[in-house]
């Protein structure tokens, strides 16, 4: 759909007529799904009749699945040794359908289970013309015919003590059965449950599109290869000297500009560069004193000195704690009264981590694996838990999505419900990652929360970390913890594996961790990252200037994930030092219009709300960075008025800090603005008015404080006329208010 549907009816029709978005023929798909559901419904009824107590559990426990995914079709004759069938009283046809039942039979005794398997084979033959085949994997335990892996890939009967390698005995991931070697077992067709990929294919993702229509067994030659979900671990690279990395960036972009036939804008003035550097690194504009001090400095290395001073400051740590907190829990996380998420505690934790130069991979590890309470008084206090407490969601789905988005730069949440069509990430990728979070339990108590790890018995309650998900065609599948090429223990028991630690190890070993953070840092400095958006990387969204992203990512890893070093590289690079003025020679560099950014000029953009708040404080003469506890509360309250959580599965937020009326009113008449422009004694305006400066110098001071430049002749004339017609302090107040409400103030340029 188009983004502005003024006339939904006509728009939809125009999309069909002009855009060729025509109704598909869904007949086969619907009939197939109908036959599947009909057989499921019938089998449930028969099973309940036979058991007399009803089928316990339906499908994936508590997962909202429509199907149950636990049919156990098996070749005829394999269940001869099984116990007498408990459903003998029902008709043969119904018994066949009953054998397709899932959850109930999963929880029943093995004897009944085996009988169901035998009946399934007959049912499959009867429906062979309707459905596409499923590979049945079987094994035996204690001499009985038991499925090691059901058609959906689950292996309920695998002895716990068996190492994972046992299940990877064959290339196709199937354990050989003494009675029925896999290569001799005919594939059995099931209308309901599609097979899981063998273990060695799990890590490559589903080999087929998860579209509708007849399911295709995995591993067929015509299956398109799924895109790799994570990049390999970063290649070893010697940590290059700072000057070398900066020179690389400059050279790379000179080549880019040549290739694209654009000329970079001239260099920004010292004052412009100083303002943007303070904004990006310290999260606020410079004071007049800081600005003058920098501009008047003649040292050739003054820019490097300023960057070094800023990244070493507490303000850097504070600014980046805000940035990280927003990434981790959004702007609305922990902002509501009574929210169990302790936003300030998380900010403090991140501030300390940044201040102490904690490597980013360590920080990521701590956040993903955090356990403990978020209440400072508690013995096991750990503020890092606020990340996952804020993102727990039902079945840890939000934790999965947010972890992928923040640390891997991949918006995986689409794959929660369906195949990610554009990125070609199969639905199992989401649920395999989700399985890592299922040992995590969030417990709340008197306004606080804590995270503890507990054994996860799987959604079937059988000890393995199995999670079930439903595809959009109604098929239910199972997923186990899997991430990257190395196999993971399927056990959900803590004695066997701490799954979040396993995941954190794997995530911090990927190149994606560094790529994502470098991309995000670059976007922070320039307004555009190498991908747009920055946290939706993947085959569907290839980076612009990949050589720069790759080099910086590897350097970041080689520099022990030192955030401050990346900040230095970017802040001291040529693209960051360019003027924001568009030149005739670089009009082609227009990412505002959807073109790829060439970074041939500095992109003007609105400050973030946090930056506006801090800048207003500085402009009002408050001591930079000197916030007390109550001021922190006031800051959060001010920021909180602009952001609202949308309450979606993806944790989406909406912000009214977008130049709309709400923002304008707050900046024109809000309490903070009133405080900043106050004429009262002790305030900045009063002090300026009472100073011995000339009226022109006073006006210049206001311009420098707000927009880091002196007034031009026209602006001076206007100011003089105001000063002539009003009392001086009132005229200064008017000028000050106008400056703070100007576009130039709120824009980073």
């Amino acid at each position: 759909m188009t983004d502005d549907r003024e006339d939904p009816l006509l728009d939809a029709f125009l999309e069909e007529v002009l855009g060729d978005v025509k109704p598909p023929d869904l007949s086969a798909r619907i009939l197939h799904a109908w036959s599947v559901r009909s057989s499921q419904r019938d089998s449930r009824f028969v099973e309940q009749s036979a058991n007399g107590n009803g089928a316990k559990g339906n499908g994936a426990a508590g997962n909202g699945a429509a199907g149950n995914g636990k049919g156990h079709p098996q070749p005829a004759g394999q269940a001869d040794n099984a116990a007498p069938p408990p459903i003998a009283a029902v008709s043969p046809a119904a018994r066949h359908r009953a054998s397709r039942n899932g959850q109930a039979s999963r929880r029943s005794r093995w004897s009944r289970h085996a009988t169901a398997l035998a009946a399934t084979a007959a049912a499959c033959l009867a429906l062979a013309g309707v459905v596409i085949g499923v590979v049945v994997v079987q094994s035996h335990r204690d001499g009985d015919a038991q499925p090691v892996a059901s058609p959906d890939g689950k292996s309920p009967a695998a002895p716990k003590q068996n190492p994972p390698q046992d299940r990877l005995a064959n290339n196709d991931g199937r354990k050989p059965s003494p009675e029925s070697p896999p290569d001799q077992s005919p594939p059995v067709q099931s209308p309901r449950v599609a097979p899981q990929p063998p273990d060695d294919e799990d890590h490559r993702g589903l080999a087929k599109k998860e579209g509708f229509g007849a399911p295709v067994p995995f591993g067929q030659k015509d299956d398109p290869p799924a895109e790799a979900f994570v990049q390999d671990a970063p290649k070893a690279l010697r940590a290059s000297p700072r000057s070398e990395v900066i020179a690389f960036i400059d050279t790379a972009f000179k080549q880019v500009w040549q290739e694209f036939g654009v000329e970079p804008s001239p260099a920004a003035t010292d004052a412009e560069w100083c303002r943007r550097t303070y904004l990006r690194i310290a999260g606020r504009i410079p004071s007049v004193e800081e600005l003058n001090q920098f501009v008047e400095q003649t040292d050739e290395t003054k820019r490097e000195q300023l960057v070094n001073r800023l990244v070493a400051s507490d303000e850097f740590a504070r600014n980046w704690s805000f940035q990280f907190t927003n990434q981790l829990i959004g702007r609305s996380g922990g902002m509501k009264p009574g929210d169990i998420v302790q936003r300030e505690e998380l900010e403090d934790y991140l501030r300390e981590a940044v201040h102490d130069d904690k490597p980013y991979d360590e920080l990521a590890y701590e956040l993903i694996t955090a356990t403990g309470s978020n209440r400072p008084d508690d013995e096991n206090y750990n503020p890092a838990v606020n990340f996952l407490i804020a993102n727990q969601g039902p079945r840890a789905t939000l934790a999965t999505a947010r972890t992928s988005q923040v640390f891997l730069g991949k918006k995986l949440q689409c794959a929660q419900c369906h195949h990610h069509h554009s990125a070609d990430w199969a639905q199992n990728k989401f649920w395999e990652m989700n399985a890592f979070f299922r040992q995590m339990q969030v417990e709340t108590n008197k306004g606080a929360a804590r995270i503890v790890n507990r054994d996860f018995e799987g959604e079937t309650g059988e000890g393995e970390a199995d999670v079930y998900y439903e595809q959009i065609n109604g098929e239910v599948r199972v997923a186990y913890p899997a991430f990257g090429p190395e196999p993971v223990s399927r056990s959900g028991r803590l004695a066997d594996a701490n799954l979040r630690e396993e995941l954190a190890h794997r995530i911090t070993a990927t190149e994606d961790l560094a790529r994502t953070q470098v991309n995000r840092l670059w976007a922070h400095f320039f307004g555009y990252g190498f991908t747009q958006p920055v946290d939706d990387m993947g085959p569907h969204n290839q980076p612009i200037h990949p050589q720069v992203l790759a080099r910086l990512s590897r350097e970041f890893a080689a520099h022990d994930y030192d955030l401050k070093e990346v900040v230095r590289w970017i802040a001291l690079s040529q693209p960051f030092a360019l003027s924001s003025k568009v030149q005739a020679e670089n009009t082609a560099d227009a990412p505002e219009y959807g073109d790829p950014p060439l970074f041939a000029r500095y992109y003007t953009r609105q400050m973030q709300p946090e930056q506006v708040y801090q800048s207003l404080l500085v402009a009002a003469g408050a001591k930079p960075g000197g916030e007390a506890g109550d001021q922190e509360e006031a800051r959060l309250a001010w920021l909180g008025q602009f952001t609202r959580s949308m309450g979606t599965d993806e944790g989406d937020e909406t912000s009214s800090f977008d130049g709309a009326v709400g923002q304008s009113l707050v900046l024109m008449n809000g309490p903070l603005t009133r405080r900043v422009i106050s004429k009262e004694d002790g305030g900045m305006l009063a002090r300026l008015s009472e100073s011995g400066l000339s009226p022109q110098d006073k006006v210049e001071h206001l311009f420098l404080a707000a927009v880091a430049r002196r007034p031009n002749a026209r602006e001076l004339r206007l100011a003089e006329s105001l000063l002539e017609s009003h009392e001086q302090i009132e005229a200064l107040q008017t000028i000050w208010w106008a400056l703070l409400n100007s576009n130039e103030f709120i824009l980073d340029h």
Partner: protein
């Protein structure tokens, strides 16, 4: 946000407000394949009009038929069956939106529902589509080009404005006027 689809379970509540046709052909005369073939395009288009992306429209079309086929169902006549299917699709759409945490203004949906009835006729809106094709030919080249860029090439309004060498506001006005002409033309043709 990316395309979403929440797993749907068949729930009796989804058919609330709709009454399946109960006379005419009995269960033995019921042909699911024919039912789907006859009505799927209408249901899909109706869902698109309500605001579904093509993929979601596909999914909900499937769910609509599955839900309807759950119950004994007599295909009384095409109009009654289409209305029944539309009602089920409507409820599924609302449910999907609710589960996704989206607010749906019922008035808007009802208004679209009413507009759809006028345009869909008894042929799944094929007549209206044919009229639309014909009416498109009557637009000025410039207006048609603007709509083609919008709906065929999926260009943002700004790029359309650039191509037409007018302001973004001008592009918006041009397309609005063109759509108004189209609507009037289609409605006149169908009278």
């Amino acid at each position: 946000m990316s395309t979403f689809f929440l797993p749907l379970r068949l729930e009796p509540s989804m058919t609330q407000g709709s009454t399946p046709p109960t006379t005419g052909l009995g269960p033995t005369g019921f042909d699911p394949a024919r039912l789907i073939e006859q009505h799927q395009a209408g249901v899909w288009r109706y869902l698109r009009v309500l605001g579904c992306e093509p993929s979601l429209a596909e999914d909900l079309t499937q769910e609509t038929f599955l839900l309807v086929l759950e119950k004994p169902f007599d295909d009384y006549n095409p109009a009654a069956t289409a209305a029944y299917l539309r009602r089920v699709a409507h409820n599924l759409f609302i449910t999907t939106r609710r589960r996704a945490g989206r607010v749906t203004t019922v008035e808007d949906v009802e208004s679209l529902d009413s507009a759809w009835k006028e345009w869909s006729g008894d042929d799944n809106a094929e007549t209206a589509l044919a009229a639309l094709r014909s009416c498109l030919e009557k637009l000025t080249d410039r207006a048609r080009w603007a709509l083609e860029m919008r709906f065929r090439d999926k260009l943002p309004r700004l790029e359309i404005a650039t191509a037409l060498e007018i302001t973004e506001h001008g592009a918006k006005n041009l397309m609005q006027r063109a759509k108004q002409q189209l609507r009037q033309c289609v409605e006149k043709t169908m009278q």
